[in-house]
């Protein structure tokens, strides 16, 4: 289909950029022409040089001309805007599907074979359909280089975007819809790879990697991938949630319902903190910010996380 000499980062770049150039071209033309006319009149008909104004009340011909011409131009711009956009709504049947989970404040990409990643790895030349799931508030997945953006709306089903990456490289992914404290840190990368490179990454399932890693390293990697560190630090400083520094085995003060109580941070407490964060809320923090990771993290994953937390001193 594509015969352009310059390869674009995605199949939409050409349509979007054409509309952009067209609109900018028309805009610059009018901006410059009208400003020039205005400045010319201001100089030429300055009261000093041109003391007697001439009354001109209007001209129907001119009114018609400058209604009809802009009207036609707007139709033209609308048209190219529309045809640049309409393929974005029609994903090809053979698209590779990836589910994207957006939550405060990271993206998680889950592939059809269950592989999860915080970075979006993609094979070049393969259409991808991203199914967008927002777990808490609105987010918006934005890849400027691909010219795509779609809001991630909690509760909205069948919300997707698609594109075909056409050039190897690393591209930014931003969250474009304001989503709270760390909104500007909610970004990731799309890595477009040669198909064979992608396949070797893709076949490399989490378990295999975990087995060769030490459990603590695996725990840390899982936490990085899923974005715990957007809210928790390791160095004792407070972010959205309490720091993990020295957490394991110490006594925490939590609010259970309305009651305050003391509880030791053992395995059960941490598992519960991850699966049901609202039940025991750490004193001094607000409820509802950390959401349950039920379905996102398996018991084994949490086991590895606990191994890691034990080492954070």
């Amino acid at each position: 289909m594509y015969n352009t000499e310059v390869t674009q980062a995605s199949n939409f770049v050409e349509g979007v950029d054409f509309a952009f150039l067209l609109i900018l071209g028309i805009s610059f033309f009018f901006l410059i022409a009208l400003t020039a006319a205005m400045v010319f009149f201001i100089i030429k008909y300055n009261a000093k040089k041109h003391p007697k104004p001439k009354e001109i009340h209007g001209s129907n011909t001119l009114e018609i001309v400058w209604t009809v011409i802009p009207f036609l131009l707007t139709l033209l711009m609308f048209y190219y805007g529309w045809i640049g956009w309409s393929p974005m709504t029609k994903p090809p049947k053979d698209s590779m599907e990836v589910t994207v989970y957006g939550r405060m404040w990271n993206f998680l990409f889950e592939y059809e074979n269950g592989r999860k990643s915080d970075t979006l790895f993609l094979p070049k030349g393969q259409p991808v359909k991203l199914n967008l799931v927002a777990l808490d508030v609105l987010h918006s997945l934005y890849i400027p280089a691909f010219r795509v953006k779609q809001d991630m709306v909690p509760g909205k089903e069948d919300n997707f975007m698609w594109f075909e990456p056409q050039k190897e490289g690393t591209y930014e992914i931003f969250c474009a819809e304001y989503c709270g404290l760390q909104h500007s840190y909610m970004y990731s990368w799309a890595k477009v790879l040669e198909d064979s490179t992608f396949q070797s990454w893709y076949q490399d399932t989490t378990q295999v990697v975990a087995a060769i890693e030490s459990p603590t390293a695996a725990g840390k990697r899982i936490m990085q991938n899923i974005g715990c560190f957007a809210c928790h630090t390791l160095d004792g400083s407070k972010l959205v949630g309490p720091s993990f520094k020295g957490i394991y085995g110490t006594t925490r003060t939590v609010k259970t319902g309305r009651e305050k109580r003391e509880i030791v941070a053992d395995d059960a407490y941490i598992i519960n903190s991850i699966y049901d964060p609202a039940s025991d809320v750490v004193d001094g923090y607000s409820k509802g910010l950390m959401l349950s990771y039920e379905g996102q993290l398996s018991d084994e994953d949490i086991g590895l996380i606990i191994e890691y937390l034990k080492t954070v001193k």
Binding site: I23, L34, M38, D151
Partner: protein, 535 residues
């Protein structure tokens, strides 16, 4: 005419009524005093809002933390947006100049319902106080952005309900002003002041009044729905309760998009007054300007969806919203053509108000033309929710409404205060402000096209250059602002006395003394058949 006995009459500034001191102002039903009450309240809020904007720009001068943390930054842009939009540009020109001038311009002694008019101002103050307390004394930091999008706004413990209630009270103030103006323009025109003799500023107030009346009640509906959800747990917007967050966006923009026209129409009206006065000839295309005003007011209701192309509306909805958005651009273009044509073969006097008006046309064109980029579907997807949008609406709302407001204040200042400001410093203020404005906002178009999302506390290194330039512009602009405001305040006391008609204006306000007497006219003027209908 009126001018002979001018000096014997008490003007509205000196008049002593039942109450004295400040009470004589805040209980005054005189449309001129009410206009000034609005001017002062808006000016105070504007200083606060501008300071917050300056702080944001300073934070963004470099990646990472510069002067504040993320939470403070998010709170800053929220409060900045709420103040600027709801408390300044929406009431803006109609409340200040509409109140002060419209009755005089149509040859009336006051608005139709002077007490209601005072109530509008009281409601404005009440709304402002309500929102500010809701924002500043809520259980959580106000960090939702001025759009209060669901469901984030429900999650953060921000005082959403009182804030919307405050917006509703402000809306009520706006509705009452609109109603008052509609009745006044319909019923109180001086004999001979036919519809097609009305000054164009009055026509834009008329169009605006209809929008105020018809669009603002949506805020009330939203308030009711949010209350139902918050108080009774009926799921409307919150997905956790089974609601739809996109519905909230629809309701928000059904009001807030027409609100853009509430802001910009009177701004265009003021420009349509200033240009003919300084070109010393009638306006070009009087009727075309009226028709375009009414067209904008009407089509402006139907385009709110262009704020939501990425929110996942149906394809058909996208299509229509985009097409209608393009159509609403046409009447604005027509206005620009007519303004520039008015200068043709005029005899142009270069004074401060004219500089503001000409630069208004320039920045308004940039704002409008970049609006086309946002109206088209493909390009909107690319730059929506980026710095490009922020640049675009600052060109319209600050460039458009702001420049027109400054033009209007420099134009009507001698009428309102009876004094002339220092023209040299006024011109210096204008050029500094203009350069600062362009330096501040132009780089943001570029940043948006590079892909920098809006409402970003921190950014990647590649966005650094544009941000430095923009912050630098903010310093120039604020310098201009300080010069302008200092000059205006100083001149109110020290300025030379201004005559009745320092600019040679043709509209009726230039026939009453400066400052105008309490009741404007001892005798209602009669507009003769022969008098130019191109005021």
């Amino acid at each position: 005419m009126q001018t002979t006995n001018a000096n014997e009459e008490v003007n509205y500034l000196e008049y002593k009524g039942k109450y004295s001191g400040i009470w004589g102002w805040i209980f005054s039903t005189d449309h001129k005093r009410i206009g000034l009450l609005y001017l002062y309240s808006i000016a105070i809020m504007f200083v606060v809002g501008a300071f917050l904007g300056l702080a944001m720009k300073l934070e963004l001068i470099a990646p990472g933390k510069t002067i504040m943390n993320a939470a403070t930054y998010n709170a800053t842009f929220t409060v900045h947006g709420v103040i600027m939009i709801f408390m300044i540009v929406i009431p803006g020109l109609p409340a200040v100049f509409g109140n002060f001038l419209m009755p005089i311009m149509i040859g009336a002694k006051d608005v139709a319902f002077p007490k209601l008019n005072l109530l509008s101002w009281w409601l404005y103050v009440a709304g402002v106080l309500l929102i500010l307390t809701a924002l500043l004394f809520g259980p959580g930091v106000p960090d939702t952005g001025w759009t209060f999008y669901a469901p984030y706004s429900f999650k953060t413990g921000t005082n959403l309900l009182p804030a919307i209630f405050g917006a509703f009270v402000l809306g009520f103030s706006s509705i009452l002003t609109g109603l008052n103006f509609l009745v006044t323009i319909h019923r109180l025109r001086a004999p001979g002041m036919k519809w097609l003799k009305l000054p164009l500023f009055v026509w834009t107030l008329y169009g605006t009044a209809w929008i105020q009346l018809l669009a603002t009640p949506v805020v009330g509906i939203t308030l009711v729905l949010v209350s139902l959800e918050r108080v009774f747990g009926i799921g409307v917007f919150d997905p956790v309760l089974g609601g739809d967050p996109v519905l909230y966006q629809h309701l928000f923009w059904i009001y807030s998009h027409p609100a853009v026209y509430i802001m910009i129409l009177p701004a265009m009206g003021a420009i349509s007054e200033i240009i003919p006065t300084f070109a010393q000839k009638g306006i070009f295309g009087y009727k075309a300007l009226i028709i375009s005003t009414m067209a904008i007011a009407f089509v402006g209701y139907l385009v709110w969806g262009h704020h939501m192309y990425t929110a996942g509306m149906s394809g058909t909805a996208q299509y229509y919203f985009s097409l209608l958005t393009f159509f609403v651009a046409i009447p604005s273009a027509i206005k620009v053509f007519n303004w520039i044509s008015t200068m043709y073969k005029g005899s142009i006097k270069l004074d401060t108000p004219f500089y503001w008006a000409a630069s208004f046309i320039f920045v308004f064109m940039i704002g409008g033309l970049t609006g086309l980029v946002l109206g088209a579907l493909a390009t909107n997807i690319y730059v929506h929710d980026t710095a490009f949008v922020v640049a675009h609406f600052h060109f319209i709302v600050f460039g458009g409404v702001g420049f027109s407001f400054f033009g209007a204040i420099h134009y009507w200042y001698p009428k309102i205060f009876g004094k002339m400001y220092d023209k040299y410093w006024a011109n210096v203020g204008w050029i500094v402000f203009f350069i600062g404005f362009m330096t501040l906002y132009t780089p943001m178009f570029y940043l948006g096209m590079q892909g920098m999302p809006r409402r970003y506390y921190d950014y990647l290194e590649e966005f650094h250059g544009g941000n430095i330039l923009s912050t630098f512009g903010s310093w120039i602009m604020i310098t201009g602002l300080v010069i302008i405001i200092t000059n205006l305040i100083r001149s109110a006391r020290k300025g030379e006395k201004a005559g009745i008609n320092p600019w040679g204006g043709k509209t009726l306000e230039w026939r009453v003394p400066s400052p105008p007497p309490l009741e404007n006219w001892d005798e209602i003027p009669v507009i003769g058949e022969e008098e130019s209908k191109y005021f």
